[in-house]
Symmetry: none
């Protein structure tokens, strides 16, 4: 008798949970002040909430490991990101808002340039504009036929990147990239990595050959390189696992895609963070769990602009005040990973988190920041355990054993 935690302990009734994700929240100190972006921000609402909240740091994947956005969010939703690893092709399809179905085989395509001998001269086809990308994708849609008994979809991503989805019986994803990762050599053939994938490899090769043929007269984007073949397998939903009816409010399609992957309702497309909070207010009592996503904190971190990241954090503060006013039983504020502006990129550093609930052990005078979170009651814990804590604080997690 094995008990899966928290799934087997989750109860169907209990309090309402709001998860606020400030993307890339964690940071590193500015050497001149010794304070991180979050610690530098003027955030009266966050600090008032933190004073009576449980604080800690969560670790998205493992010590030292920098997560992508997909794994970062999966962890927050209670899905161990290593066990539930999302392939690149699937993540790209989610990112463009494509509605994947069980068994779909998705792959990322790069437009590339090859010379007369078929050797790659530019792996990114001179980085076409997004409009140019759309034109090329339309050409593929028009000229490449789906294989018998299958459906084929091409979707524009941006610059040199597109996504291809093949839908049909019994497709296998155990295929090697055709991107040679260098110039001066031809694209690689689609090679199966297991004998079972041989038929899928041949099918995929024919599709890629037809795509190449369709692009042959293009001056730059006259070839395709495929990367990250990935099969979409249905994930158990948060409703099934945690008995939660979930709403996702995110401006960007990637985050709605990951939310949909775990069964959240992601029908709304807020056009701004303010509108996302409007939608939360309007739908508050219709769901058990709300995920609301604020992107700018991460973007300013990736820009490498410490001051702008501070301002992006500050811009979230009144929104969080509005969410607090709804008085959810459990309010969680955190990030999906760290994006220190000094690194201009995602990083491995654990992410500050607060849980507002009556059932906490706050320390006097604590505020919301990396260092106070280090000393907080939650310690450093795996991100995927955050959902158990959320359920527990909401009175939604039963006792283990008698």
């Amino acid at each position: 008798m094995t008990v899966t935690i928290p799934d087997d302990l989750a109860e169907a009734s209990g309090g309402r949970i709001v998860l606020v994700v400030m993307d890339g929240l964690g940071g590193l100190p500015d050497p001149s002040t010794g304070k991180t972006e979050l610690e530098s921000a003027v955030v009266p609402n966050l600090n008032r909430i933190a004073a009576n909240a449980a604080l800690g740091l969560h670790q998205p994947v493992a010590p030292g490991v920098t997560p992508g956005s997909g794994p970062g969010h999966l962890g927050l939703f209670g899905y161990d990101p290593v066990r539930w690893n999302i392939g690149r092709g699937v993540l790209s399809a989610l990112g463009v808002g494509f509605d994947l179905r069980d068994g779909d085989l998705a792959t990322r395509l790069n437009f590339a340039t090859v010379d007369a001998e078929g050797r790659v001269t530019d792996r990114r086809a001179g980085r076409p504009s997004d409009d140019e990308n759309k034109r090329l994708v339309a050409k593929l849609r028009e000229n490449v036929k789906a294989p018998k008994d299958a459906e084929l979809f091409f979707e524009s991503e941006k610059e040199h990147r597109a996504v291809m989805i093949l839908r049909g019986a019994d497709l296998r994803a155990e295929l090697e990239d055709t991107d040679p990762q260098e110039t001066g050599v031809p694209p690689l053939p689609v090679k199966p990595t297991t004998p079972d994938a041989r038929a899928s490899a041949e099918l995929m090769q024919r599709v890629l050959d037809a795509g190449r043929e369709a692009l042959r007269d293009e001056p730059k984007a006259n070839a395709l390189l495929a990367r990250g073949f990935a099969a979409y397998g249905r994930y158990p939903t948060m409703q099934e696992r945690f008995k939660l009816k979930c709403l996702a409010l995110a401006k960007y399609p990637m985050y709605r895609g990951v939310a949909r992957l775990v069964g959240m309702d992601a029908q709304h497309t807020p056009e701004s963070d303010e509108q996302a909070v409007d939608l939360l207010e309007r739908n508050f009592t219709n769901y058990d769990f709300h995920f609301i996503h604020f992107k700018a904190v991460d973007s300013r971190g990736e820009d490498g602009d410490f001051g702008a990241k501070v301002k992006a954090v500050e811009a979230c503060d009144p929104l969080i005040g509005r969410i607090e006013a709804l008085n959810p039983d459990v309010l969680i504020v955190t990030g999906d990973h760290s994006t220190p502006s000094r690194l201009r990129a995602h990083s491995w550093h654990p992410v500050p988190v607060l849980i507002r609930s009556p059932w906490v052990r706050p320390s006097p005078g604590q505020t919301f920041g990396e260092r106070p979170c280090m000393q907080g009651e939650l310690g450093i814990f795996p991100t995927a355990d955050l959902m158990s804590l959320a359920l527990a604080h909401a009175g939604r997690l039963g006792k283990f054993g008698a």
Copy 2:
């Protein structure tokens, strides 16, 4: 698509890492001052480095578990010591500097005394001197023939201990010790614990009988007891796993042996800690990863001499200053386990660690000691995760997922 962390994320280029191991660094407070050995030491270099470093405690095996030197170091090198458990015979062979090959069967031998009826009267043969030990080993070498198609090696360890290595086709290590662990009974026969090991058991019995015969006229050391049969299997190297070219600088053969086990270059034999640092300076740019081992801290802990352990820590401080001056991208200072002088032995207590890097979240005024490390940003983490952190800080660990 499974991802092994950190192996599959390791990148071939990035910063240089130095790992300084003060053996047995962790300690316990002196009841009269409330300070541990490390906290009592005057270590201006270490404290200056710690002020801007990441601090934490690492746990070598599991809570409450005291590690031997082999597991302690394997963990530091990124090898889970439970998964990569080294058998006693192999560790002994490494300890005497024996160059093990794949498939070698190593076992520890104790010289013992038996009476006329063959019953053990002293399991340690009156603890012979090291010179006497060497004479006995020479006698074994001269008189015990290797079995057909095999090679046989005897190596002196110290006092009553020696190592025997059998090299030949298809040897199995699933053999029970012949040491009965008590006196008044004869040595046990070599018993296989699996049917596959039966032939190896018979072979080993003949070798031990021949050894016994060679020693029959000895007044004290007239018998052999075998313990810890262990097969040496090739470990994946740090180069293979982490894409690091590694140099080991350790005065004692055991530590060079464990380093060689994971593929480090351990060709140098420094005669002092100073000379180890000389060699590090001279070879600094030729390697990605340097492991430098200082033994005295552990030895003084095992002596039970608190003051001497404090002095041993202090003696390392200027050496660490010289290493810092080389400005490695990542400098780690730690121990392989704790050796509190009040316990006069290795212990289970987590071990203080500092990581010097620009990408850290130090707390104001922090110094290097067990208590500041408890409050540090790294928390308490498994020793085997230290390598992931080292790689991350060196910019050598790719992102997990897109």
